[in-house]
Amino acid sequence: MKPPIPKIFDEPLKVVNLGLAMFADNLRAENIDVIHVDWRPPAGGDARLANILAALED
């Protein structure tokens, strides 16, 4: 059986950036399609609650 090639190897990048805005700026400078998320800590900054939410979504 031939191993799978990750699909993204053959696709143009379309990026959602969460975190350092610098990374979105750099991608944009390379003419890559990118949306920067004006990110705020989820669950009011409570990491434990965020983890519970992530598990619930499963």
């Binding site: 190897f9 990048l13 969460l18 975190g19 350092l20 989820p42």
Partner: protein, 516 residues
């Protein structure tokens, strides 16, 4: 000495923007200190440690932004605070093309870009699981730059990715290349035929840069994070990426860059490597394990690039200590000065973790016992290597590749706190890195050389520059700044480390430089 604090409630801003704004205002307004931190417990402890804590900052929560200024007068402090808030507001309002549609969550971003195929994530480590799981479940590959992510979260994320045929690059992935585009911190190269799998950001940067110098390029460079080949993670992403590159028609040769894999991972890795019908160069720094099949084992990052190019071109190639041994022998005779540094202590101050590790291995081979990640004042070992990008040195501060002060502070302390006579440095260029990394190093070296001279001591400085002619920092200018300051500059970290060992141990020098 007025210390003024202002709290911006529920105002999040990333650490790089905060560092840049703080540095700009400190310089513009000539105040003693400007600090801009999110109100996490770690940051509050740091403020307390540096004497900048106030009752307001102590009461801030992790969602609040703490601005603190230490100035000569109340007026100056107030004016600096106002300026910080103004610059942050400007930054928040954007001005970029996304300004009017800046979404606040992944899902709202996906409504604007439903066909997104990659999430780049650099949020604080404790929130990585929440964001990365969400991205994977929505069919996106992920590149996770964040560190401080629990290993259990990494295992969960990688299992989720594999079940969907997606890449999970990281956590703690500094560099990657996909379809010719760089992610994170990367050197500017043209796309080529060499596929890389790297458990190391600076390792991938060093190999991609050497490939560029040799006229080749990277097809895809899959960063997997430093823990992928540990027993816990089991090489999940390394094996997936190797198989993907094996099947990728653009990739003609593969390079694997990592520390030695955990023994439990070795059988699966060996099996995967043996199945690959393309040349594979294996650079597991610190291990000589032969994986068989079409693998070629190399000992250093530059050897990895050379071996891959030789494989691609069907050329023969043999590793050598130096590209130009005669020039090195000449340099040793003329510029080190009558062997007066023979027996000197060698110290490496690195910004790249894998470069530090590689130098440590080579110095240990040449000089015997070499300490790793101790303090400058630690005298338990004569020779030492410090990776200043390690978490232990970066608490509350961005990585030294962005913020050179972490290292320049160490350099300035050498004349008092260290016995070193030979100093090795790495200068890492590329997108994401400091815009002129040689300049602050040269300035700090000027100060420390003066202090050494005053004390009748000598310091030889050896450096390598990781970069390409396409990088924004101007490779030639970075090298010339260093050479003008008397630094011995080498094309690779391995050559710099060997040269440093030779200066401290001249007998070794004659042998390595091939003039004996």
């Amino acid at each position: 000495m007025p210390i003024r604090t202002e709290i911006l409630p529920s105002f999040y801003q990333d650490s790089v923007v905060l560092m840049r704004v703080a540095a700009q205002v400190k310089k513009e307004q000539a105040v003693r200190e400007v600090a801009a931190f999110m109100g996490t417990d770690t940051n509050k402890a740091l403020l307390a440690q540096t004497g900048l804590a106030t009752s307001e900052s102590a009461a801030a929560t992790a969602e609040d932004l703490i601005l603190t200024v230490d100035a000569d007068t109340e007026e100056r402090a107030a004016s600096a605070l106002e300026r910080v808030a103004e610059l942050l507001a400007e930054r928040r309002d954007g001005g970029g093309k996304d300004a009017e549609v800046s979404p606040h969550t992944l899902d709202s971003a996906l409504r604007l870009m439903p066909d997104a195929n990659l999430a780049t994530i650099s949020v604080p480590g404790e929130f990585v699981r929440f964001e990365a799981l969400r991205a994977l479940r929505r069919g996106l590959n992920v590149f996770v730059f964040s560190d401080n992510v629990p290993v259990a979260d990494e295992v969960e994320l990688k299992k989720e990715a594999l079940s969907r045929g997606l890449l999970c690059m990281g956590p703690d992935c500094g560099t990657a290349y996909l379809n010719g585009a760089g992610l994170g911190f990367y050197n500017v190269t043209t796309r080529g035929r060499v596929g890389c799998v790297a458990a190391s950001g600076t390792g991938l940067q060093a190999v991609a840069s050497r490939l560029a110098h040799l006229g080749e390029g990277v097809s895809h460079g899959i960063g997997v994070g430093g823990r992928d080949l540990s027993a816990e993670v089991g090489g999940m992403m390394t094996l997936f990426a190797l198989r993907g590159l094996a099947a990728d028609p653009v990739t003609k040769a593969i390079v694997l860059i990592s520390k030695p894999p955990h023994k439990d991972v070795v059988p699966r890795l060996s099996e995967t490597l043996r199945e690959i019908d393309k040349p594979v160069v294996v650079c597991c720094l610190g291990s000589n394990k032969d994986f068989g099949g079409r693998t070629v084992n190399v000992r250093t990052l530059d050897e990895a690039a050379h071996a891959a190019v030789a494989q691609l071109r069907g050329e023969t190639w043999a590793p050598a200590a130096f590209g130009d041994p005669a020039a090195v022998a000449g340099r040793l005779d003329t510029s080190v000065g009558d062997g007066d540094l023979a027996g000197a202590a060698v110290l490496g101050l690195f910004t790249g973790g894998t470069l530090a590790h590689e130098a440590h291995l080579l110095l240990t081979e040449g000089l015997g016992d070499v300490g790793f990640n101790g303090d400058l004042t630690d005298r338990s070992r004569k020779h030492n290597v410090i990776d200043l990008g390690d978490d232990a040195y970066t608490v509350g501060r961005p990585h030294p590749m962005i913020a050179p002060e972490i290292r320049t502070d160490f350099i300035r302390r050498l004349s008092v706190d260290s016995t070193a006579g030979v100093l090795i440095l790495d200068i890492v260029l590329g997108v994401g890195a400091h815009d002129d990394p040689a300049a602050p190093v040269v300035e700090a070296l000027g100060d420390v050389q003066a202090a050494y001279a005053a004390a009748g001591r000598r310091l030889a400085v050896v450096a390598s520059v990781v970069g390409t002619p396409g990088d924004p920092q101007n490779l030639g200018r970075q090298i010339s700044q260093l050479t003008e300051a008397g630094v011995h500059v080498f094309a690779t970290n391995a050559e710099a480390a060997r040269f440093a060992a030779m200066v401290a141990e001249p007998k070794l020098g004659r042998k390595l430089a091939g003039s004996d």
